[in-house]
């Protein structure tokens, strides 16, 4: 689960470095890849908590499902605060 996020973003970042070496003039491609890699990376923990939430719920461990949900809510709040900060 987590490892998929690592591999996907790792490959994208490696691609960004290779592109930079092979085609040093095409900076917009390098930047797009770096941005994409960072996005995959940052969203992986979001997905990880979501999966934990699902697993705890499925196993009827409701105490922990609620705790995971709380963590997820704060993470989403932070995302929204970032959006507001960006607009302001």
């Amino acid at each position: 689960m987590l490892i998929t996020g690592v591999i996907v973003s790792g490959v994208i970042f490696a691609l960004a470095l290779v592109m930079h070496i092979v085609m040093p003039t095409k900076l917009e491609v390098v930047y797009t890849l770096a941005l994409l890699g960072a996005a995959v990376l940052i969203f992986t923990p979001y997905l990880r908590v979501l999966v934990a939430l699902g697993a705890f719920f499925y196993n009827r461990e409701y105490k922990f499902a609620i705790l995971s949900l709380l963590v997820l809510i704060i993470m989403v709040l932070s995302l929204m605060a970032g959006l507001i900060f960006h607009i302001a």
Partner: protein
């Protein structure tokens, strides 16, 4: 855009940060931030943003390996994560209105206190691990309610170590402050999480390291998203930084469980002293204008 050779130098530096971070259950920002600001001349706020993204990178690559090795206590992580993310979120918002100068001094004192506790508890922990003595305590009500306990296989001494968690309330409160500090000062807070679990909550050091490694990714992603959508991320450094820390963390997690706890504790002591000194230096500089050597 950076030239290729400085990108590779930076990749090497972040490899070391990822490696040490994996051994200690910390993010490695204490290495990456000074490297970026001093060697590469990156402004401090950009350095913090890059560092926090690399913390996510090292946590998910290192953390997943510890989950597979069954050293991570996911229940404990989720429990403490509720307070630490609230702290990180409030801390990140507080950055806009208050300055962290007095916090540096407070965190420095805490770091020195924890450094001394680590070095003083070496013998006791080694003895307790060898005799599997982490079960003979009474749990408090909260720890019992959430069934906070765990076990892992210690490869350096070839047997299973079981443990019960205690002092959950204290741990929860200290985690809140670790999160607050991480949001305010741009530190990962892993060093405080590991110490809290190990010293107050009766969690063996290796289990604390693995659990912290898992937690810091969630905490760091919560602040990283703020920087990311706010457009504060300098894309020049992200690719080499992420690859370096990922590789470093992979190597670090492969060797951590094979190292004797004694050496990990000593490494911890040294790193905590360095962090304490660093923070004290920053705090004194900002509050009374005194400059300590090497700051």
């Amino acid at each position: 855009m950076l030239d290729i050779s400085s990108q590779l130098t930076f990749l090497g530096l972040t490899f070391i940060a990822g490696f040490i971070g994996a051994l200690m259950g910390i993010g490695g920002g204490i290495i990456i931030v000074p490297a970026l600001t001093i060697i590469f001349g990156v402004p401090i706020k950009e350095a913090i943003a890059i560092s926090i993204v690399t913390v996510v990178a090292t946590s998910i690559s290192g953390g997943s390996s510890y989950v597979e090795q069954r050293i991570t206590n996911i229940r404990l992580a989720i429990f403490l994560e509720t307070s630490t993310t609230i702290g990180a979120f409030i801390g990140a918002l507080l950055v806009l209105i208050v300055s962290g100068q007095y916090l540096y001094v407070i965190f420095a004192l805490l770091a020195f206190y924890l450094a001394v506790s680590q070095i003083l508890s070496v013998r006791r922990e080694v003895r307790r691990i060898e005799s599997n003595d982490f079960m003979s305590i009474t749990q408090d009500r909260v720890s019992r309610y959430f069934h906070l306990r765990g076990d892992y296989f210690d490869e350096s001494i070839h047997h299973k170590v079981d443990y019960l968690v205690k002092n959950s309330i204290i741990g929860w409160v200290v985690s809140f402050f670790a999160g607050l500090g991480s949001g305010l000062l741009g530190i990962g807070g892993g060093i405080f999480k590991v110490s809290v679990m190990n010293i107050f909550m009766n969690v063996p050091l290796k289990a604390a390291v693995a659990t912290s490694k898992f937690m810091i990714g969630v905490t760091a992603a919560t602040s990283a998203i703020l920087y990311f959508v706010a457009g504060l991320l300098n894309l020049d450094y992200i690719a080499p930084a992420a690859i370096g820390t990922m590789l470093g963390a992979t190597v670090g997690t492969a060797v951590m469980n094979k190292i004797k706890v004694k050496w990990l504790k000593i490494l911890f002591f040294l790193i905590m002293c360095y962090i304490g000194y660093n923070m004290l230096g920053k705090g004194l500089l900002l509050t009374i204008g005194v400059r300590l050597p090497f700051i």
